[in-house]
Amino acid sequence: MDLVLLIEQLLNGLQFGVMLFLMAAGLTLIFGVMGLINLAHGSLYMVGAFAAAAVASATGSFTLALIASLAAAAIAGVIVEMVVIRRLYDRDHLDQVLATFALILIFSEGTRWVFGSFPLYLDVPSALSGAVDLPFGISYPAYRLAIIGIGFVVAFGLFLLITRTRIGMRIRAGESDREMIAALGVNIAVLYTAVFALGAALAGFAGALVGAIQSVQVGMGEPVLILAFVTIVIGGIGSIRGAFVGALLVGLTDTMGRVLLPVLFGAFMNPSAATSIGSALASMSIYILMAAILLFKPTGLYGSA
């Protein structure tokens, strides 16, 4: 494999990582910071994508579609938080698992009911379609470069929000002792609704952004959910920085594993067995990565006990 291709694959890995971060950002916020296991995160991602697809097909504007994805997911988030999640903060994690699992069922079938059983159309805006030329003769899709940019901005913004603002402190305080932070005068209920809505909006936003280059369909959220969990666990729960680093690691491992493992096995095996074993191993690579990292750092890269 030549160097240019290798560089391009590294870039792909990075890009995939940033995309993962976008998907995981809302989850880190809700899960890491509010301590809530939200399996329905993938559903909010789906809601965003569907809202964007619907608005894009009605208006033809990608910008409006993005706004719609933010709004729809945030509204869904507020409703879900006020009706369901709010009653679960002081419960066992397991109750949260069951409740949000139920939410997945409702969201998935509800979406299918509204939008039908077939995937929807959502395309990248024409301004960002096609590829741009980078040095070394690499040409790279413009839209993916945009995703990288947006991912960095979101990461930085969230990092500041959580670590540097008073709101961030209150959220973190509430995570360890809700009763106490309320007794000090913080309206934690409103704060949490807002955070949940923000997390949901981020999920929806990611759904719309990523949906433009993937399939907008019912069930699109579940694989993302698992990936997002893997990402934030590798980075250490509650750490935006960890989520970001974790996402890049996962993106690089997955991409380079897919590319290199079959080649590697091909060196000492017949080609068809090599591709088969190589790609089987590649599909496990991120799980192997996660297991390995947790064995050496049981609370993830940036997590605290």
């Binding site: 299918r112 995937p119 159309y121 993937q214 399939s215 019912v218 897919r258 080609p271 599909s283």
Partner: protein, 357 residues
């Protein structure tokens, strides 16, 4: 008298579109046959093999159906078909044709009305050979159906295979594979990526600036999916036994009546469901299901006008039919398929030789 059909298909979750089309096509055929003695029980398998098995038990043991049909996915078919045919029931496959059931595992009561999994791919391989494609890049998910599809293509393809890449099942990002494809010197890309995987791939491929021509089996370019890919799919060639513009008797009427009844264009799966319904009705004209041998013989005759044209059963009860080459085009605002030629005439599958029945 009369007959009870059990349909196990996927009606909820991600893959529901296919099941719903099969069901609707089938019901349309039954309705048009004018028979009131067909009783239909529909069950949702949720795309889970274990659920499918249990539903099969239910339909056979409690509902006491005579005929089963409906399954979309190969792995579910593998789970259900052997046991129901062993219990003396008939199974008509409206989709999915795993090789095991066409060869060694064939059964007199199992009729495949759709295709053997390899068919479209074999036809595509033949077409590529004939049209002077010298080098292809092959891409499929890493699971049995994916490997079968690629093997099917290679069986009828004489040119060179530059690379064979297997991706993770359910993968959604293909940047790495696309980079490999772009750097490759093949003349053509052939891929099989069903459902959402295909949509994601095609959108990303089109946006990457890659320019190799693309070909694949119809599954990745069916009507329901084209709607989601949009113009990114224009120009893609794909093999299919059916197309809505296919000029054979009955097809235009089918397309019109399906559209009228359900408010959407029929898909490949709807056509297969429809054919399955027609086959069943045709057999009922000739024999009563209580006489299994006669009924089997009647099915075997396949005396119905398939919407894909000529249709016969090979000895292993899999179709002998023509596979066409289609191209994705834009008709007005709609991205859809157009037949551009024949890829394989009167095609039969390669596994029948192993079938002893």
């Amino acid at each position: 008298d009369g007959l009870k059909v059990g349909m196990i298909t996927t009606l909820s979750g991600g893959g529901a579109g296919l099941g719903i089309d099969v069901r609707d096509g089938f019901m349309l055929a039954v309705k048009q046959s004018g028979r009131s003695d067909i009783e239909l029980v529909v069950e949702d398998d949720q795309r889970k093999p274990d659920v499918a098995v249990q539903l099969a038990d239910k339909l056979v043991q409690s509902e006491k159906v005579d005929v089963l049909t409906g399954i979309i996915w190969s792995n579910l078919a593998m789970a259900v078909v052997p046991s129901v045919t062993a219990q003396g029931k008939f199974y008509l496959s409206p989709n999915a044709g795993p090789s095991a059931l066409a060869g060694k595992g064939c059964h007199p009561n199992y009729f495949n009305v759709s295709w053997q999994n390899d068919a479209f791919n074999e036809a595509a391989g033949a077409w590529a050979t004939e049209n002077g494609v010298e080098k292809v890049f092959l891409l499929a998910p890493n699971y049995p159906a994916g490997k079968d599809m690629i093997a099917g293509f290679k069986r009828f393809y004489d040119g060179e295979v530059s690379n064979e890449v297997y991706t993770k099942l359910g993968q959604t990002d293909y940047a790495a594979e696309i980079a490999q494809i772009r750097a490759d010197d093949a003349d053509m890309l052939y891929y099989f990526l069903p459902g959402g995987m295909g949509i994601s791939f095609m959108k990303q491929y089109a946006g990457s600036g890659a320019d190799k021509p693309v070909m694949g089996p119809a599954f990745s370019f069916d009507q329901g999916i084209l709607g989601a890919i949009g113009e990114a799919a224009l120009g893609v060639k794909n093999t299919s036994h059916w197309s809505k513009d296919l000029d054979v008797p009955g097809n235009a009427e089918f397309v019109a009546s399906f559209t009228e009844e359900f408010g959407r264009l029929p898909s490949l799966y709807a056509a297969q469901g429809f054919d399955t319904g027609l086959l069943l009705a045709s057999a009922m004209e000739k024999a009563d299901v209580s006489d299994a041998d006669a009924f089997r013989a009647a099915l075997k005759e396949a005396d119905f006008q398939s919407v894909r044209g000529d249709f016969k059963f090979a000895p292993n009860h899999h179709p002998i039919h023509t596979i066409y080459m289609r191209e994705v085009v834009k008709e007005g605002d709609v991205v859809t398929n157009k037949v551009i030629g024949v890829a394989a005439e009167d095609h039969t599958d390669a596994y029948g030789v192993d079938c002893k029945m």
